[in-house]
Amino acid sequence: MKWRWILPPVLLAGLIALLLSINPAQLLNLNAPPLESLTVERTVLNHDGMTLQVRAEGSEPMKIAQVQVDGAYWEFDQQPPGAIRRLATATVQIPYPWVEGEAHHVVFLTNTGVTIDHLIEVALPTPGFSLSTLLGYGWLGLYVGLVPVSLGMLCYPYLKVLRQRGLMFMLTLTLGMLAFLLVDTLQEGLELATEAAIAFQGQALVWLAATVAFLALLAVGRRRGKSPEGTALSTYMALGIGLHNLGEGLAIGTAFALGEIALGSFLVVGFTLHNLTEGLGIVAPLLKYKLRWTTFLSLAALAGLPAVVGIWVGAFAFSPHWAALFLGIGAGAILQVIVEVGTYLQRRLSQPDGSELSSLGIAGFTIGLMVMYGTAFLVKF
């Protein structure tokens, strides 16, 4: 009886041992060279030259033998030196006198002669980590995150005077906005995923994180047997929007550090208008309730402050696979809120006066989508 329990693990161990001792490819007389691949996860440009953080993803440990910049060989210093194991990282410092505002092309030449390209599109000095840059980026985060979300939430008194129909309209409007944010967050996550090392399967990571986050939040929200309403619903909404804003912050922080955008006042105004509408959404489920200041502040912080964190991480410690993971979670959180707001609306619509509200609901949803899409014109780059 017992051997039935022992057999599977023993056979598996035996099979692995067999495969490791005889290379199955040899049976086919295949003798392919090891795969070599390298991903640059971070680029730092300063007066000492350029420093690149690379992650190896070869099938075997790989060696960077030479480095070219703009078609010329340069000296470089690799830390830690030697072969880079699969999925390990190393830092490559090149004392190259890069030129501000211009493009530079880096090529890694491995010991087997394989080349791996990396393009620095616009060379700009990377902000050093100091209290002043930290504060500067912090302020930027507050401008694009906390300030507009809070402003939107402060419209609470205007919404409070709305009657039943107005309230329905606001909730469907919110639903439209959330639908836009879901698409936008997923898209952002999938785009970043392509920059991550292949082994991390960035795109799958986004979808899986979204699914798990959605199911987990749904389960937590309904642990008392009914879907959340009021403050609880607003909190989930703030969480979802907060994670979206984290992604927005990441995008701004990295783009800034890489010199891909000049964040002029126009862009700040754009983010303010775009994120203002998010604030409206957060307070929409609260219109029937009495709102306390502490609740208001914590919801604003939950939705707005992640932008600050995002910008910091984006500017100082960016890795595409972590960013993809967080954006996946954000997408899941937004989907959960969509489902819960939808459930709440469905309950309302099934009441006697519900049917006449459906066309109003469609209008609200469409307008919500359009407002988000329209204001996104100001901030997409």
Binding site: D70, G71, A72, Y96, E102, H105
Partner: protein, 280 residues
């Protein structure tokens, strides 16, 4: 004049970062000698002493590297007479051999320092006294002599600009401005001979060329001989850094436009297209 009887020629050259308009509406962040691309032409007679005070007013290291005969300490390469930003260094050497030469920056990264605009012409005229068997020819090359004034002399530096830094030129020209001599042809009096100092500093493309319409010319590779190295040709090919002297005549030609351009059609259509307007 130096006590030895040698003529001393002194120059001040500064490396300056400057945005130049390389085509209508297209601005390029160039590195220049004295604010111009190509840099100022240095013209001397064989055996003159050249002294150049070179000030680096840019933000990168720069040098002056002359194509000529000089000692290793005057070579102008990284570590040798290389001027750091804000620094001034002095180059001093004798002008030789006679011919059509060039100077350029030799700091690293080399390619970028060249294509950003740090190059210019270095023309050394032969000293007639040193070439007794060809005094007349030599004298015609010495700037300012009566024999020389008969000639219509032109300097053409074939260059290009990589405006998006992808190691491929977006514009080609002689003397930086694409199509400039097509839109305003160079006026040539047909009864006076034409001498062109031709220098190729094009980066990225291994060769450039010069082709003249409806006429043939004699060519002196590097300009270091007084007899042509190629006779009766209408096209010459120059590798990067190669140069030479073209001599031709439009005597008895029908007045009108005579084009000249790179015979790489690609370069021609991207700007290296020009014309002479031959007048009677």
């Amino acid at each position: 004049m130096l006590p030895s009887g040698q003529r001393l020629r002194e120059y001040d050259i500064a490396a300056v970062e400057r945005e130049i308009e390389v085509a209508p509406g297209v601005f390029y962040p160039a590195w220049t000698y004295n604010g111009q691309v190509p840099g100022p032409t240095i013209r001397a007679t064989e055996g003159d002493r050249i002294r150049i005070r070179f000030a680096n007013r840019g933000s990168h290291m720069h040098t002056l590297h002359f194509h000529g005969i000089h000692g290793a300490r005057q070579d102008g390469i990284p570590g040798t007479l290389e001027a750091a930003p804000g620094q001034t260094v002095t180059y001093e050497f004798d002008a030789k051999p006679f011919g059509c030469h060039l100077y350029h920056c030799h700091s690293l990264p080399f390619k970028r320092h060249l294509h950003k605009g740090l190059y210019g012409a270095f023309i050394v005229d032969p000293d007639p006294e040193r070439h007794p068997e060809q005094v007349e020819v030599a004298r015609s090359r010495v700037l300012g002599t009566p024999e020389n004034q008969r000639w219509q002399e032109l300097l053409m530096v074939m260059n290009g600009f990589d405006t998006n830094f992808d190691e491929e030129n977006e514009v080609y020209a002689v003397n930086s401005i694409p199509h400039a001599y097509m839109k305003q042809p160079i006026r040539i009096e047909r009864d006076r001979p034409v001498r062109i100092y031709l220098i190729n500093v094009t980066e990225f493309d291994p060769i450039n060329s010069f082709h003249l319409h409806a006429n043939f010319f004699d060519y002196y590779d590097h300009g270091t001989t007084l007899t042509p190295t190629l006779r009766t040709v209408d096209t010459v090919m120059l590798c990067q850094g190669q140069r030479g002297i073209i001599e031709c005549s439009f005597a008895d030609f029908e007045p009108g436009l005579y084009m000249f351009h790179a015979h790489q059609a690609e370069f021609a259509e991207l700007g290296w297209m020009s014309a002479f307007e031959v007048v009677a």
